[in-house]
């Protein structure tokens, strides 16, 4: 297998809150290969957006990277100077933010904002490149003259993606780009992102709280809980046979429009306060299959078939039934 273009090792991010630091991202490892689509899912407050910002070196005080490395195409971004980073951003990797309304400048036309990004780099770009990328995302280039408020929510989000494509980067980081859209616009945007990815070959790291959204689009899935990766594996494998009770809970949290109507419970409780994370396994207070070891022993990521899961049920030498997760929660 070729070397990954993005290697995150042991990445730790802390928020300095005065008394004790809040560890929002706790020793996360993540590899992204060229042309791969990686989905990062979890509830709000699980650290998924902080992880993205840490990868893109966009964190601002009181958050700071306190350990680990982010190697992008062999270079460690954590140790890199702002000037060097500025050259990389947009050109080699770009970020699409959650709310396009806030990410676009409201008093500047779309074309003007494209020009800003182009002028900040010494890359040779043809004059019709802005029109070209707009066409790529299915917007009439006439909208280069439009201001953000003149576009619908879906079009603004597309314009953001067009901007991210200006220099055809190798990696695009997306932070819930579809969460402000309704289902039809959401689906068509997802189909388009996937299309572009296949056409242009960039890699995508896609953060969302809606696991079902990425089910048909991502190659690999990272499930985060309380700052940690709790499950990691091929998307299909995680969906067909979730190894962590939390992934299973997320999967069962939304109703289906097909099949029999079954009562659902969601995941009881709410995510823990990261200033005082629960002892042992961080999910144990909400876990339907927790047992006596869970509050005591902190689980690691164990290999479970083709996936990895941070659950003591899968610890080597664990005597519990082979698959109590499915039995107890289904």
């Amino acid at each position: 297998m070729p070397k990954p273009i993005l290697e995150v090792r042991d990445l730790t991010v802390e928020y300095d809150t005065g008394d004790r630091p809040v560890v929002a991202v706790d020793a996360v490892d993540l590899d992204v290969h060229a042309g791969e689509f990686v989905g990062v899912v979890g509830e709000s407050g699980c650290g998924k957006s902080t992880l993205l910002f840490a990868i893109a070196q966009l964190l601002s005080s009181p958050a700071a990277i306190t350990g680990g490395s982010v190697r992008f195409q062999g270079q460690n971004l954590v140790a890199m100077s702002e000037t060097k980073l500025a050259a990389l951003r947009w050109r080699d990797f770009s970020v699409v933010m959650q709310s396009a309304m806030n990410a676009l400048n409201p008093v500047k036309s779309i074309g003007g904002q494209f020009k800003d990004a182009i002028m900040a780099h010494d890359e040779p770009v043809t004059d019709d490149r802005p029109a070209e990328v707009l066409r790529l995302v299915g917007i009439d280039p006439i909208h280069l003259k439009s201001y953000p408020h003149q576009l619908s929510g879906g079009m603004r989000q597309r314009a953001m993606i067009a901007m991210a494509l200006l220099f055809t980067p190798d990696l695009i980081i997306m932070d819930e780009p579809t969460s402000a859209l309704d289902v039809v616009a959401q689906r068509s945007l997802m189909v388009q992102i996937k299309d572009l990815q296949q056409k242009l070959g960039f890699a995508v790291v896609f953060v969302t709280h809606d696991m079902s959204l990425v089910s048909h689009f991502s190659d690999r899935l990272v499930v985060m809980y309380a700052g940690q990766v709790v499950e990691l594996g091929a998307t299909r494998a995680v969906f067909d046979n979730p190894a962590h009770p939390y992934s299973k809970g997320l999967l069962d949290a939304f109703p289906s429009i097909r099949g029999p109507k079954v009562p659902l419970t969601g995941i009881p409780g709410s995510p823990p306060n990261l200033a005082h994370p629960p002892s042992g396994c961080r999910f144990h207070p909400r876990c339907p299959v927790a047992f006596e070891d869970c509050p005591k022993i902190e689980p690691e990521l164990y290999q479970v078939g083709s996936v990895q899961a941070r659950c003591l049920l899968h610890a080597p030498g664990q005597t519990h039934a082979a698959d109590p997760i499915r039995e107890a929660t289904s």
């Binding site: 079009m155 068509s188 079902s212 969906f239 999967l251 939304f254 969601g266 995941i267 709410s270």
Partner: protein, 348 residues
């Protein structure tokens, strides 16, 4: 055919009238100034009925007019045309402040965004106690407090006494939305207008609130108008599903019937867009860019015709009206076919 009987009785007997009914409800907004003044048709000719203890889901894309309907029903907007009947009584005939207060107390609203709908400067008990003071003047101060505690418990927050003393920032999004429901519940409502109550919340806690709606219907006997763009959640709680497109109701019927046997091509499109990891990816929505039109000074014709895969000549000239095509199942489409055995109904 009980619904037909109920309709006929509505003017004479307020007890057997549907809880709330709209007839040809219409709301237009003026856009532009001077010579470029135009009319935006947000809601046109909407006939909607909500029964007692019924959960009706109103689904559609953003901009389809579903929130405008909620605001019309809540009395935030005045209708441009048409009428809203509450227990058989026309809303426009409720002139006195007492009548209007009574209506607002019976039909409260729960808002989409739990982060901005609670006043951050007050404890969460503030909103509940305020509405109790306004709407239930018979209660003493301590009774109001007891009642507030009761509704906070009813929405599944415990310990109620302690939660009520917190500030909104001390609660999670799901808890705040439950407080939103508690506020609505405090004045013993008949119908709660819930405008996308779960769309700002995490997927993992949405189910809890949907279950809460079903539970409140059972324990408190309230009806819900559940406004959403998520058909899967509508299926989970609603008895009846009403689909809106560009200000018109395009399809309505019992939830399962609409989902299993969608009549309108737009309903098909919406269903195809619901992400479902258990099903294979459907190609139905590929190529559709998902832009509902802004209905400004419309000409006759079906408003879905530009996106419709089944479009025929008729669609460009004649606005389709709702026809009965199945058991309690209507659609406004020239092409949609009635169920076998329902042809007579359709012709009527």
């Amino acid at each position: 055919m009980t619904s037909v009987n109920v309709d006929q009785l509505s003017s004479t007997d307020s007890d057997s009238a549907p809880l709330l009914e709209t007839k040809k409800l219409t709301r237009h907004f003026r856009v532009g100034r001077g010579l470029s003044r135009k009319m935006l048709h947000a809601v046109d000719d909407v006939d909607l009925t909500i029964g007692r203890q019924e959960i009706v889901a109103l689904a559609g894309e953003s901009g389809s007019g579903k929130s405008t309907i909620a605001r019309l029903l809540a009395g935030v907007y005045k209708p441009t045309d048409g009428e809203i009947y509450y227990q058989g009584q026309a809303l426009s005939s409720m002139r006195s402040r007492r009548d209007q207060l009574a209506y607002r107390s019976d039909v409260p609203m729960v808002f989409q965004d739990p982060f901005s709908s609670l006043n951050p400067a007050f404890r969460v008990s503030h909103g509940i106690l305020r509405s109790l003071k306004l709407h239930r003047t018979d209660l003493t101060r301590s009774q109001r407090y007891d009642e507030a505690e009761r509704v906070v418990e009813a929405v599944g927050l415990a310990p109620a006494g302690e939660i009520m003393h917190r500030y909104p920032y001390e609660l999670s999004g799901g808890q705040r939305q439950r407080i939103g429901f508690a506020q609505a519940l405090a004045h013993k409502p008949k119908l709660i207008l819930a405008d996308e109550p779960v769309s700002m919340l995490d997927v993992s806690i949405r189910i809890g609130l949907l279950n809460l709606m079903a539970e409140l219907r059972r324990s408190e006997g309230v009806s819900f108008l559940y406004i959403t763009h998520d058909i899967a959640s509508a299926r989970y709680v609603a008895d009846r599903l009403v689909i809106m497109y560009a200000g018109h109701i395009v399809e309505s019927g019992p939830t399962e019937s609409v989902l299993a046997n969608p009549k309108h091509p737009y309903t098909d499109l919406l269903l195809g867009a619901v992400p479902d990891p258990r099903a294979p990816l459907t190609a139905a929505v590929e190529g559709d860019t998902g832009e509902p039109p802004k209905v400004i000074d419309p000409t006759p014709g079906c408003r879905f015709r530009w996106r419709c895969p089944l479009v025929v000549d008729e669609c460009h000239h004649i606005t389709p009206t709702r026809r009965r095509l199945g058991d309690n199942h209507d659609a406004a489409c020239h092409v949609a076919q009635p169920d076998p055995g329902e042809e007579n109904l359709a012709a009527r």
